[in-house]
Every structure is written in C-alpha cells, then in structure tokens.
Symmetry: C2
Subunit: 206 residues, 2 copies
C-alpha cells in the first residue's frame, strides 16, 4: 500500500502509524475516517492533542498530571499526607482513585525499571520520593506496582533506597481476583494465595 494519491494523506498516515498499536493499514483507515468527519470536528481533534502536549502541567509534588502547580489530590487538606501510594503512571492513580479505598497521596514514578526497554532507575521519579520520605512526615509507602518482574524489581530497588528512613513499606495484596473463577486463575497466583491464606474472620470484618 504505497501509492498514496496525495501527499497530505501520506503525511497523515505516517503520523497516525506512529501511535502505539496502529500499523499503516489501521492508520489509513483512521485517516479516511477523519476525512469523512466535519472539518470543525477534525480541527477540534487535532487542536485538543496539540493543546494537551503544549499546555499540560505536572504536579511538582507527586508528578501527576495537573492543571495547577500542585495537583488537586496533593492540595486537598482532607487527604492523609502521611501515606504515599507509589504508582507507575497516571492511569494507576485513576485506577486507585476509582476504588475509593485510599485517602492518602500519590507518587507517580513515570515508568518502571525495565532493562529490556532501556529504562533504568535514573529515568524515574525516585529521588524525589526518597527526599519526600526523608522529610519525616511519611509513615507508610504503599507500592502499587504491577505484579511483574519489572514491578518487583522496582519495588526492591525503591525499598533499598528507603531502608534507612525506617518508613513502613507495603505492597498490594496478591491472590485470586474477586469474582474470578478458580479454574482460570494461573498456577502461580493460586499457589501464592494458598500460602498466604487469610483467617476467615479477617475477611468478615472487612
């Protein structure tokens, strides 16, 4: 598919195909879809993306995306500023917020240690976390990272950095998903959730 009838189309396909998960065929499909929309809609689409990139701010405290210098979560006096939930990116902030089970603050690493993708600790917001914890107001750091090799490596690296501060470090509970059928749980998860079984009365309290 390389005979584009128009340079404009080819350029748009080139740009769209750089998006993750979108190949040249999908990009052409998207470009033809956009051509069929109202010009005003497509202008709004393009400008929303340009504005997003040019005008976005990050919270100076937790590195979450923010409209102002400090994000609405960090600035909220009703949140418990002694608990910090460490997450990979802002999607995870949104996911934890949606549970309504956490009332502390966040710290967005901006990624996860992944030698395969060339991401080392130096590229993540780890120093500012260590600084924050060493300031002494934090009682607990909850590591809410993926239960993968990369997530575990990152937890291990950060926990070593925080060891001297004496802060309490916890990780998310791992086990069988709620509502999940046991036969579809993978062996490792199922094995771990047997080893880490919980007294039934503990469950009833919650």
């Amino acid at each position: 598919m390389e005979h584009y009838p128009s340079r404009l189309l080819e350029e748009a396909v080139n740009e769209l195909s750089r998006l993750p998960g979108i190949g040249r065929r999908g990009a052409l499909r998207l470009a033809l879809h956009l051509l069929k929309q109202d010009a005003a809609d497509v202008n709004r689409f393009g400008n929303a993306i340009i504005r997003l990139r040019n005008n976005i701010n990050y919270c100076t405290s937790c590195h979450n995306i923010s409209e102002s210098e400090v994000c609405s979560i960090c600035a909220n006096p009703r949140r418990d500023n002694s608990q910090i939930c460490v997450v990979q990116d802002i999607r995870d902030v949104m996911a934890v917020e949606n549970t309504s089970q956490f009332n502390g603050l966040y710290h967005v690493l901006g990624g996860i240690i992944s030698p395969m993708d060339g991401i080392g600790p130096g590229q993540l917001n780890i120093d500012s976390l260590v600084e924050k914890v060493n300031s002494g107001k934090i009682s607990e750091v909850i590591m809410a990272l993926s239960a993968t090799m990369e997530g575990d490596t990152t937890v291990f690296y950060i926990s070593k950095k925080l060891r001297d501060s004496g802060v309490k470090i916890s990780i998310l509970a791992r086990g069988v998903a709620i509502g999940g059928e046991l036969e579809y749980a993978d062996e490792v998860t199922l094995g771990r959730s047997i080893l880490n079984r919980v007294p039934y009365e503990n469950v009833l309290i919650k």
Copy 2:
C-alpha cells in the same frame, strides 16, 4: 476511569475515543503516549491531521483523493480511458494499483449500498458514473467491490442503471485465494470455484 486529573487530558481522551476501534481506555493510553513524545512531534501530528481534512481535494472525474483538480491517474495519458474500475473507496484504488494488473481509470463510489448502515444509492457517486459511461467513450466497467451481500447489491443496482448504455460490465473473479490451503477455504467459495472451474490451458497462458 472517570477522575481525570486535567481537563486537557479529558478533552484529548474524548477526541481520541471517537476514532473507530478506540475505546476510552485505549484513548487514554494514546494520550499518555503522546504526552511522552517531543512537543514538536506532537504538533506535527496534530497539524498533519488538521491539514489533511482542511486541504484535501477530490478528483472531479473519479472522486479519488487528489492533490489537484484531476488526479494523477485520470490525468495520465498512458492510462486506458476506455476501462473503468469501480471501487468502494480509495483504499481499494491503492490495492488495485499495487497489483500492477490494471491500466485503466477508476471510479470511487465513496461507499457501498448498505441499508443496515443507512447508506443508499443516493449517497454514492453513482450518477457521475452513469454520466461518464453514457458519454460513450467507455468500453468496459469492472466492478471491483467486496464479495459481500452489500457489494453484490451495489453491483446489481449499478448494472441496472448501466443496462441501456450497452457497456460491457464485469466483476472480479471469485474463487480460492492464491497460496491459500484448500482446507481453509469456506464451502461457498470452494463450491463456486468448482462450478466456475477454468480450463487448465487458460491458466498456463497467463
């Protein structure tokens, strides 16, 4: 996922999630991807899409996308202007061009008759095709539409419109895909390709 930390992000996600095949989760992923790119790259991305929609032209003769009033295929004196290949959209022009097996001109319908999607013959570029054929210079119309119910309906509708002109109308050969394993061919295709079997010497000539 509804607690967006920023209005800019929410707007970008709203726009991205209008693309076909992209839900809100995928849109958020794309928006966060774009945030990590260079500002210059993202501006080029947004502007390529805006320019595409605002500055695109369609060939006045074949309705293909074009840089100029008449597209490069229609304007090419070495193309056979007595043959017209009728296609659904410009992707199909590109697909047929890539085969290098056709040296005539195209006619882009801009869609296919599909009552389920509310698309009737009135929304397609059929009148201009009939006019072109009635002008008398066309010897053959090749219907290169999908081998689906909608494609067949469109072929039938157009062939009725062209009946009085006496032009030769042909459709694409249908049968087992070249390189395809026979066991994976569907029954209907296989059955048709037995009924419409071709003398072996015909194949050898080509």
